[in-house]
């Protein structure tokens, strides 16, 4: 079955890729996919608990968007945050250790799957409540704006990427922040991963105008839709938006049309999405599509890709070993981190 609205087509020729770039994008997507597959395995083996939301299928969005950033830029995520963390550079072992609840995890085992944080890598957090990260991300962008405009710090050109879903786009915080971001021209990009579902709620049943990118216009902001299964399309749109944000020209809404290949979380029976829908979207697997393209274009070789597959598999295995070997947080540290000194 075709998706409920026609997908925008991206002319890949407009984004020439070097082989290094192509491999970097490929590696990041494969890392995301492999990491999540490993999580599922570990979850079913009782190594991690709670709600675990995997990202399979949406890799082109994380990679396409985040891999345009500098290390000092910010990313804000949701409960579906593993892969955003990885794309932003948080080491896989730190993420895996967090999922195992270990003291070596990026949130010291206190956060868990829905609460990944890394000050070092500019990850503002995984926010477990729908839409609550949007204002926080807006605040990080405001901080850049503040340093530039109130403190005259000309080096203040960091960009904040704020990720959330179609379901979140019906929440008031989204609109409140669109307004403030546009009003003050904050350097933020709202990346909406429209995977058509909010748990069991089909997007078209939850919203009166399903084209989320169109809400941007109501706030005088640029809004674009992109094929969220095409890493190059996402990258091209984000590059443009990042450019706009960096030079103080304000925010952008990017709606990426995508799909998750698994249930909402590992606890979700996933009974409502039709088989034909799933098949349609699976056939557009962003990793396979990208691999085919870069091979066809002769930008990379199959050997290059295989080497990456191999490398990533080792990395993910290493992450599991690290997580398993890591210590639990010390019981006497239960009250650590409540107050800062």
């Amino acid at each position: 079955m075709a998706p409920s609205r026609s997908l925008p087509h991206f002319d890949k020729a407009t984004l020439p890729l070097t082989s290094d770039e192509a491999l970097m994008l490929y590696e990041d997507m494969v890392l995301g996919r492999s990491f999540e597959d490993k999580c599922a395995e570990m979850y079913y083996r009782g190594k991690m608990f709670g709600f675990v939301h995997l990202y399979n299928g949406q890799e082109a969005v994380s990679t396409g968007a985040i891999k345009t950033l500098r290390p000092d830029d910010y990313v804000c995520s949701t409960y579906r945050d593993h892969v955003h963390a990885l794309s932003k550079g948080v080491p896989a072992r730190q993420v895996m250790a967090e999922l195992f609840g270990k003291a070596t995890g990026c949130s010291k085992g206190r956060g868990g799957s829905m609460h990944l944080f890394s000050a070092e890598y500019g990850l503002l957090g995984g926010f477990a409540f729908v839409a609550e990260g949007i204002p926080v991300a807006t605040g990080a962008a405001f901080q850049t704006h503040y340093r530039r405009n109130a403190l005259n710090d000309t080096s203040a050109d960091q960009v904040t990427l704020c990720f959330f879903g179609d379901g979140a786009s019906n929440n008031g915080q989204f609109f409140e922040c669109l307004n403030m971001a546009a009003l003050w021209k904050l350097p933020i990009i709202f990346v909406i991963e429209n995977n058509e579902w909010a748990i069991g709620m089909a997007h078209y049943r939850a919203t009166s105008v399903p084209e989320i990118y169109k809400k941007a216009a109501a706030f005088g902001m640029v809004g674009v839709e992109v094929d969220g299964m095409d890493v190059m399309a996402v990258r091209a749109a984000t590059l443009e938006a990042v450019q706009r944000a960096r030079c103080g020209e304000g925010p952008t809404v990017i709606e990426a049309l995508t799909y998750r290949f698994r249930g909402h979380s590992l606890a979700d029976p996933d009974e409502l999405r039709s088989r034909s829908d799933k098949e349609f979207w699976m056939s557009r697997d962003p990793i396979k599509t990208f691999a085919t393209y870069v091979l066809e274009q002769g930008i990379v070789t199959q050997a290059d890709l295989s080497a990456i597959d191999q490398k990533v598999a080792e990395l993910v295995d290493e992450a599991v070993h690290f997580a398993e070997a890591s210590p639990e947080p010390a019981p006497q540290d239960l009250h650590h981190y409540i107050y800062a000194d």
């Binding site: 206190r110 477990a128 409540f129």
Partner: protein, 327 residues
């Protein structure tokens, strides 16, 4: 009598009340086609349609306010908080409008609505999904706050809450949905404002609610073997307290242990302890003791999480100390 799982008992309560009264309806996230995250409304949309089992967008504050408006004009909404924590976003609508509007309007309107869903600390769900909102909401005037704990009381209390003409915050516990129990057939209600005497005893009054009822029962088993005779009371109503039942017990045992899952500071136990001390000071042989969760956001790590929440061993120890005058 038929055995029923707690989530099905809740479902039965809703189903029966919706049949009985066409103004009763359910709204919330994924209550319809998905059947509710804990299956409490499973397939009810097939019977009642998409308007009476209303799947909402993720807009807690507004759909709660919408329920207030619907209640003011004659309907009886049941809001499902997919997780009660999400209703932090609806705090203003719950306090100002659900809670206070009847008073502020000088009695012009009543707001018969139920706000129900899973609360409490589950299994490694992380800080935000492990809220105990009863502590945050207990001071809101005009609200009734109830916590169910067994399939039987879940059904009877929910039916009573739906029929009540006031806003009722109705807490289920994320770890109790699969409890199984024989429950009476057909229609019955349980008073919202009465505590349940779970186990009569002479030496100490254990006041608890929701999931901690089971930790107390667990502890009491061990205590019985050691020859102790504690009384367990399940509060059921967290606002207002059933001070009659509580008072009768205190006058008998002269010692009180509160076992709660909310954090110690500003928890349910705080008000309860203060209220008991005020009224029954001369009856008390020892200070009211609170066993509460630690004052920390619930950590994800399983061992830390366990340390955060009261465990049966602590109850055993506290009872022994209380009885031996070591408090």
């Amino acid at each position: 009598m038929a055995e029923m799982l707690l989530f099905n008992a809740l479902r039965a309560a809703i189903d029966e009340e919706m049949e009985r009264d066409p103004t009763v309806f359910v709204l919330g996230e994924d209550v319809g086609h998905y059947g509710g995250s804990y299956k409490v409304t499973k397939d009810l949309y097939l019977k009642y349609g998409d308007v009476r089992i209303l799947d909402t967008p993720i807009a807690e504050n507004s759909f709660t306010g919408m329920a207030v408006g619907a209640a003011m004009t004659g309907l009886r909404p049941i809001i499902e908080g997919m997780n009660m924590g999400f209703l932090l976003l609806a705090f203003n609508q719950i306090s100002n409008n659900a809670g206070m509007l009847r008073y502020t309007s000088g009695g012009n309107f009543k707001v018969p609505m139920v706000i129900r869903g899973p609360g409490g600390v589950g299994r490694q769900l992380g800080a935000e999904h492990s809220q105990r909102l009863e502590a945050y909401f207990q001071a809101v005037p005009g609200l009734k706050i109830v916590a169910c704990s067994t399939p039987k009381n879940a059904k009877g209390l929910l039916k009573a809450a739906i029929r009540d003409n006031n806003p009722v915050l109705f807490f289920e516990h994320v770890l109790l949905y699969n409890l199984k129990e024989e429950i009476p057939p057909g229609d019955y209600v349980q008073a919202l404002d009465r505590a349940e005497l779970v186990r009569p005893g002479q030496e100490v009054t254990i006041l608890t609610y929701s999931r901690m009822r089971y930790h107390c029962l667990h502890a009491v088993k061990a205590l019985e073997e050691k020859g102790y005779d504690p009384e367990i009371i399940d509060l059921i109503s967290l606002r207002p307290f059933d001070m009659e039942t509580i008072g009768a017990s205190v006058r008998k045992t002269h010692r009180v242990l509160i076992v709660e899952e909310c954090m110690r500071t500003g928890g349910i136990g705080a008000e309860l302890s203060a209220a008991i001390t005020e009224r029954f000071f001369d009856e008390l042989d020892a200070p009211v003791v609170r066993l509460s969760s630690q004052d920390v956001p619930t950590p994800y790590n399983g061992a830390l999480e366990k340390l955060t929440v009261v465990q049966p061993e602590q109850i055993i120890e506290a009872v022994e100390k209380l009885v031996h005058g070591q408090v």
